[in-house]
């Protein structure tokens, strides 16, 4: 895409008085330049054509405000994700398209009007859904800031996934040493109300004003909170029908292995672990991130219990990143754990009818099949998203990604928020996270969730609907259509007309499309603006009737 050509074209558009071609418009310099030109050129509209508004629009809007220009007089045109990045081999087409997108953006900008944002109060409490390490850490962090927290956990006990884990990497610390004090602090904190064996059933409302109902102890408890943190974690994949799992009694998953040997049973003499079971396959392409670490941890433990034990780990690449996991891996090898590489085309085979007796695998380095006699087969499986995620996603109006985990607003720039305001996510609910990561994310989520509460108010984006009373016929279509019940018919200057409650309006625009008279409009997306864009796009097309 030829940017200078697009810039040149922009200069030719009506109402455009200044065009700047900048490599990084969102940098300090870029923003300063914008502010400077607003003052110098007496600009009353600004259009930036670059990346997606979903990331940097707030930044540019702030810059406009700082320069004294109402931030709603700013329009963003996406010529990167929607143009240059997807038409890399079609320079002519991409350039044409970019020009037209800019033309459309300018047309819309001409109809933008200054807006004031509406402030609404934030209820000073937070809801944390999920009482695992992430949830508890987030709850404690919020409570430590003096914020009232409601912590909801589905199981009868707090702790989440690590309750099934016996020891923690790398020091083989007993899980109870971490979990015990954490649970104790949560239970005894005056600002935290814990609901175990409970589920959040409904969450209605919006940032600052969520109405929550929790099913607890056979009753329903209603609460109000300002922000919500999702820390529901994930679950270990149970690889039914793979490698004899669920059919043969001595084929277990890593977590099941840890639970089984928690109570200190005799460890088996021959153990074969198979990694990447149900991960990095066509049906589930992702890597579970720390399951290798878990396998290594358990392999080391087995060798420490019984140095004579024969422990094989069948793997397809060992993910041992960083310093400590790499050292852990090395230690496992030093202790005599054997890592055998297999490939996805020749998976290991379990031999044995009633029990797994041996594992046959094609040893890549040796270049031949080997048969490993075994007393126990441990399958290393990734964490997968919880089945409940669909329900939660609809309840909170937050999206799920392609693997069923929660999808954050932006992978790099907004990793623990959702596009929906007031809801945050941390821990394995987002993608398989180990304890260190879960804890960091929990602190991040708590910090974010605390901001609106500490501010005491939020400003709603001024993209709400409004009704021109003069032309409203009070037909009631808008009232019927509004998903939030934000519109009422009331007596006004022109008789009975529709009135929008700005605090409740979420700016969807359903009402606008349902209004036959065109009285109902949406700030920032009104008919003149959108129609202006359509007209601008269709501008240079002859209509065969002589009309331009």
């Amino acid at each position: 895409m030829r940017v200078p050509e697009v810039a040149e074209y922009a200069r030719s558009l009506p109402n455009v008085v200044y065009v700047e071609d900048n490599l990084y418009a969102c940098s300090e310099e870029g923003l300063s330049s914008i502010k400077e030109q607003i003052a110098k050129q007496h600009l009353n509209r600004v259009v930036v054509a670059s990346c997606t508004p979903r990331t940097h629009e707030p930044l540019f809007k702030e810059a406009c405000e700082e320069a004294g220009l109402n931030k709603y007089l700013f329009e963003f045109v996406n010529i990167r994700e929607h143009c240059s990045w997807i038409h890399m081999h079609d320079s002519a087409g991409a350039t044409e398209k970019a020009k037209e997108l800019v033309r459309m953006g300018v047309a819309k900008a001409c109809y933008l009007e200054p807006q004031e944002e509406f402030e609404s109060e934030v209820f000073p409490a937070a809801l944390v859904i999920g009482g695992g390490v992430a949830g508890m850490t987030a709850a404690l962090s919020l409570a430590g800031q003096g914020i009232q927290v409601h912590l909801v956990e589905r199981e009868k006990e707090l702790g989440g996934l690590i309750r099934s884990v016996r020891t923690l990497f790398p020091a083989q610390q007993d899980t109870e040493d971490l979990l015990g004090p954490l649970v104790e602090r949560v239970r005894s904190h005056p600002q935290i109300t814990t609901y175990v064996g409970s589920e959040a059933e409904t969450v209605d409302g919006f940032i600052g004003d969520f109405d929550v109902s929790i099913a607890t102890d056979g009753q329903t408890k209603e609460l109000k909170v300002g922000t919500v943190i999702v820390a529901t974690g994930a679950q270990e994949l149970k690889p039914i029908a793979l490698y004899g799992y669920s059919r043969l009694p001595n084929v277990v998953t890593q977590l099941e292995f840890e639970e089984k040997f928690k109570e200190g049973a005799d460890t088996p003499r021959n153990v074969v672990m198979i990694n990447c079971v149900g991960a990095r396959i066509p049906e589930r392409t992702y890597c579970g991130r720390f399951c290798c670490t878990t396998a290594i941890k358990n392999a080391i433990w087995l060798k420490e219990q019984d140095p004579e034990a024969s422990v094989h780990v069948l793997q397809r690449d060992v993910m041992a990143y960083g310093v400590d996991i790499e050292e852990f891996y090395r230690r496992a090898m030093e202790l005599g754990v054997r890592f055998v590489r297999y490939d996805i085309e020749n998976p290991p085979q379990i031999m044995g009818e009633e029990r797994a007796e041996a594992v046959k695998v094609y040893h890549q380095l040796m270049g031949r099949q080997v048969v490993l006699p075994t007393d126990l087969v441990v399958l290393t499986t990734p964490l997968v998203s919880r089945e409940d995620n669909e329900r939660l996603s609809k309840m909170l109006k937050v999206p799920l990604g392609s693997e069923g985990f929660f999808l954050e607003a932006h992978l790099k720039l907004r990793p623990i928020e959702f596009a929906t305001d007031g809801v945050y996510v941390c821990g394995s609910a987002r993608y398989p996270s180990d304890i260190r990561e879960s804890v960091s994310q929990a602190y991040a989520a708590a910090a974010k969730a605390a901001i609106p509460i500490r501010d005491g108010f939020v400003r709603a984006e001024a993209i709400t609907a409004f009704c021109s009373e003069r032309t409203c016929t009070a037909c009631g279509n808008c009232v019927e259509v509004c998903p939030f019940g934000a519109i009422e018919l009331q007596e006004g200057r022109f008789g009975e007309t529709a009135h929008v409650n700005v605090a409740q309006c979420k700016g969807c625009g359903c009402c606008v499309a349902a209004c036959p008279s065109g009285a109902m409009q949406q700030r920032g997306f009104d008919d003149r603006q959108l129609f202006g864009m359509i007209s601008a796009l269709a501008e240079e097309m002859t209509s065969g009737t002589g009309r331009q």
């Binding site: 109809y111 003069r470 016929t473 037909c475 009631g476 008279s517 129609f531 209509s543 009737t545």
Partner: protein, 319 residues
């Protein structure tokens, strides 16, 4: 029936129950009937009722909103559907009107009459309903013509609202039952069978003839917006010249606004000076609304308009 009507209206006036009455009166010639607003006995004397009372008077009732008192109105069963819709769409309150239902048994289509009898309408002195025939007075004669030969198309599919409380009626309100030799949507289905390009050519030809007189909009009960979107300056949905792209936009947007509200009164087609077959367009709207959303306009007072609601299992096979 005319006498009964005049009696009722006079009584209402005497009681001071209504400010005026909306009904039909003779027009410039005996073959013409026009809507009229009458008050006072001598004006009431002019009220008529016959198979030439084609107009849908419902729209005029909206003027009652500005008055202190009530207004009386004569409606055929089909026109009452417009009243039901106006009530649903909150345009007027039931208390503002005194509705008199007239048991219509079919209206005459003047174009058909001219063709069948071979005389221009100017020669027609009057038409009476005679059960299964119309008695047409031409000159000194009265010709008896089987009803189906002169019947207005929409009357073959006569529909009344399922439940509507008239303040009084001039007889029992029963929909006309006529055997039509074709289905209600036959004209629509005919077009639907044509290949796409022929359909397009058909409509392009029709819309090209539109002079944008807006008569269809003026006569339609559902077009009550104080400022029509076509008259708005921003955005300028339409330019004024009656050119093809504009005309098509005009008609299609009117269809969109009428979807789920068109009650098949047929007025738009009746008043079109260019005789554009609007019934072929609006019956399609009614057909789709019935098939897709299981809905008919103007039948029940407590139904919700189809395009401001949805079903979780709405079809998405079109997607």
């Amino acid at each position: 029936m005319q006498d009964k009507l005049r009696d009722i209206v006079n009584k209402l006036q005497a009681e001071g129950a209504i400010e005026y009455f909306i009904g039909y009166c003779p027009g410039a010639g005996p073959h013409l009937v026009v809507p009229c607003f009458v008050a006072g006995e001598d004006e009431v004397e002019r009220l008529v009722w016959n198979p030439l009372c084609l107009h849908n008077l419902s729209k005029y009732i909206l003027q009652a909103r500005d008055l202190e008192g009530k207004v009386g109105l004569l409606v055929k069963g089909c026109d009452a559907r417009a009243i039901v819709e106006l009530l649903k769409q909150r345009q007027i309150e039931r208390e503002k009107m005194v509705v008199i239902g007239v048991p219509c048994q079919g209206q005459v289509d003047p174009a058909k009459l001219e063709k069948v009898l071979g005389v221009p309408m100017e020669k027609v002195k009057g038409v009476e309903d005679a059960g299964d025939a119309f008695l047409v007075s031409v000159g000194e004669e009265k010709q008896k013509v089987p009803k189906e030969q002169l019947l207005r198309e929409k009357c073959f599919y006569c529909k009344h609202p399922t439940s509507f409380e008239y303040d009084s009626t001039l007889g029992e309100m029963i929909p006309l039952s006529m055997d039509a030799d074709r289905g209600e949507f036959a004209l629509v289905e005919e077009l639907e069978q044509l290949p796409l390009e022929e359909r397009r050519a058909f409509w392009q030809k029709q819309f090209a003839r539109c002079i944008r007189c807006n008569a269809c909009r003026e006569v339609c009960y559902a077009c009550y917006c104080t400022e029509c979107i076509f008259d708005k300056k921003t955005p300028r949905w339409l330019d004024k010249p009656p050119l093809l792209p504009e005309n098509e936009i005009y008609h299609l947007i009117r269809v969109l606004h009428l979807a789920g509200r068109c009650i098949d009164c047929g007025e738009c087609e009746r008043v079109c000076p260019m005789r554009i077959p609007l019934s072929r367009l609006y019956k399609k709207v009614q057909k789709d609304v019935a098939e897709l959303f299981n809905y008919e306009a103007g039948m029940e007072l407590d139904e919700v308009l189809p395009l401001v609601t949805f079903e979780l299992d709405d079809q998405d096979s079109f997607m």
